[in-house]
């Protein structure tokens, strides 16, 4: 293992790593460009490199991109990828408070923590972790996503009913196109390009970026810029100290990320949302979440980075690519004549360990570059809305078109954008809709495959009588009970506050005798 570290620390490998991270940061920061796309584009360049060197550059891109998707989420309320949806919940409110730099530093510090813990699991515990992931069948996938759906309560905004309706709407939108099970074409209403379904990135740009553009337009007479930039000395030190004071948040989020990361098909978007929900649930300052909490940004970013790194575990240990980037890496390994699986650790341990260490080092490089860039990036919010609105519009259109090279996606972006803007006006938060879109294919796959299994074994046996399912059901019930309890307590507190305000006002007007 030490041999891998020494190799990863040689100047040549470090150069490749830094180049990869920089490339990843550029790709991740542009909505519509994904880490998968960037790693896939780099595959031909790895032909000429040693297998370990090729993996190092791909690892750098992956880790850099996983951090950088937080940049547009924080600055313009537009997640660069689905994994940064939860980052936007608190990142953008921080920007509006003039704390964009703090939010960006929190994101890159969290990326460092997440990538480090994920890489440690990859280096030390990959085979047993991969074996655990194999015990997850369709019923467990169904229950893990049902558990994730309970997150809606955290991100629903003011109205719980609208939050749940938004989540169901997101799930329904995720069913557009050819079914994940059965293969029937659904809800396309004769529009052929919709057969491939709504592209998640396009939907996210529509849900988050487009309404933001219209809001900037609305505010242009009262607020000329997207947010304030306040130059705070020692912003990096203060932010890191704030996050370190709550180490449990970072550790818990990392472990959630690792656990969800090893499950093929789930990955960083689910991990970041679950970690955000748990951070809010266990925080003493849960009321700050959604209004600009550094711990909210950290939870989401720690989880998505540890999850991204952990998603490599089933690939290396079992030969199962559980995430799109892992599939690209699988291809690179095959090109170099290496077959992923348990044998890889035995025969090519040096390559695996170099790759693992490079992911950890990529976290450090990302942290250093991210901290250096946080000040100039934070100043982006000072660009006048008159300039920012057209540029974001151009980027949104390019990002939507680039995925499949069809204008239909651009029209989908417009439709979802206008819809999300109008729904936002009547109290719908885009978070639950995004959550539904992300979880839809996973929950459907789990539900329908479990139904098929239950025809042979009985539904009770399939859904309720498996040990892992029972653990997940217990977690789901606990989550629902806790949600109802906290919502009720919050409702009572607000009612009491409102009553106190009325009494104070009446007293001030002389209506009630102070005695």
């Amino acid at each position: 293992m030490l041999e891998g570290l020494l190799l990863a620390l040689t100047p040549y490998y470090l150069f490749l790593l830094i180049a990869g991270v920089l490339g990843g940061i550029i790709v991740g920061a542009l909505p519509g460009l994904t880490a998968t796309m960037a790693t896939a584009l780099m595959v031909p360049f790895t032909f000429a490199l040693e297998p370990a060197a090729g993996l190092v550059i791909l690892g750098g891109i992956y880790v850099g991109a996983m951090y950088a998707d937080a940049i547009p989420a924080v600055l313009i309320n537009t997640p660069g990828t689905a994994a940064a949806v939860a980052t936007a919940f608190d990142g953008y409110p921080l920007t509006k408070k003039g704390m964009a730099q703090h939010a960006l530093i929190a994101a890159c510090f969290a990326s460092l923590v997440g990538a480090t813990i994920g890489a440690m699991f990859l280096l030390l515990l990959a085979p047993p972790m991969a074996a655990l992931s194999l015990r997850f069948g369709p019923p467990e996938y169904f229950w893990v996503t049902v558990f994730a759906i309970t997150i809606i309560a955290s991100i629903a905004g003011e109205s719980f009913l609208k939050g749940v309706a938004g989540g169901v709407l997101g799930l329904l939108l995720s069913t557009v196109g050819v079914g994940v099970v059965g293969g029937a074409t659904r809800f396309t209403f004769g529009i052929m390009p919709l057969q491939a379904g709504l592209q998640l990135i396009v939907a996210l740009i529509g849900l988050f970026a487009f309404p933001q553009l219209i809001r900037m337009l609305e505010e242009r007479f009262t607020r000329n810029v997207a947010g304030e930039y306040v130059n705070v000395p020692h912003a990096a030190r203060d932010t890191i100290l704030t996050l370190i004071r709550r180490p449990l948040n970072l550790i818990r989020s990392s472990l959630i990320g690792v656990f969800i990361g090893i499950l093929p098909g789930a990955g960083p978007p689910v991990a970041s949302l679950v970690a955000y929900n748990e951070a809010k649930r266990w925080s003493k300052d849960s009321h700050e979440f959604g209004h600009g909490s550094l711990h909210g940004v950290a939870a989401s970013e720690t989880a998505n980075n540890s999850s991204a790194t952990a998603s490599i575990i089933p690939l290396l240990a079992l030969g199962i690519p559980g995430a799109p980037v892992a599939a690209v890496i699988y291809g690179v390994l095959l090109i170099h004549g290496l077959r992923p699986g348990a044998q890889l650790y035995a025969t090519q341990g040096a390559i695996v360990h170099t790759f693992g260490w490079s992911l950890l080092l990529a976290g450090i490089v990302t942290f250093l570059l991210g901290t250096l860039l946080s000040r100039p990036l934070g100043r982006i919010v000072q660009i006048p809305n008159a300039v920012l609105v057209p540029i974001i519009l151009l980027l949104a259109i390019v990002g939507s078109f680039a995925l499949r090279n069809t204008m239909v996606d651009v029209y989908v972006l417009f439709g979802i954008g206008v819809g999300a803007y109008l729904l936002g006006k009547i109290g719908f938060h885009p978070g639950p809709i995004a959550l539904g879109l992300i979880l839809g294919p996973i929950v459907e796959g789990g539900l329908v495959t479990s139904f098929a299994l239950s025809r042979a074994k009985g539904w009770y046996e399939v859904f309720f009588n498996r040990p892992l399912s029972q653990v997940l059901i217990a977690m789901t019930i606990a989550s629902i009970v806790w949600t109802i309890y906290t919502r009720a307590a919050d409702f009572r507190r607000r009612n009491n506050d409102a009553a106190d305000d009325i009494v104070t006002e009446v007293r001030a007007a002389g209506g009630i005798d102070n005695g």
């Binding site: 460009l33 329904l172 090279n405 009547i426």
Partner: protein
Amino acid sequence: MAELGIPNPVVRGERVNSDLASGLSMLVFVVLGFIGLRGRTGDSWIFPRVLVWTLLILTIGLLAKGFIRAERVEMFASRGVLRDVILFCIVVLGFMRLIPQFGYWVASPVVAFGMMIVLSPEKGRRVIIRSAIIVTATMVLLYLLFNRGFGVPLPRGTFW
């Protein structure tokens, strides 16, 4: 509507019964859902069916809340803002229609330049020059990143 005992979703200018409006919005999706489900059977339709029925229940809940304990929100600060929003949407839609005709590299700078001039609170030659420089720089950057760097083709039109 008021004569029939149905609460008007729009009350006093731009204040809206948001629960009723939400219920009606969701009803649109429910109706589309049922149209899509009509006559369909098989495994592919189990999940959508569950969702459409769930959404119907939630829609009834929202509509009921709209009648019983409505929450009212201000949709637009003024009619001027509403007009700006509608105009922006029309411009964006027009831009999307222009792209297949003229190509992204012709339509985009024209629309972006026009938008910057119109949205800018200050007017005059300085704004025009500044906007022209920013648009040119943005287009060059996009070209280098997408076309040259990542090899991503952008929409082409009759002219380019």
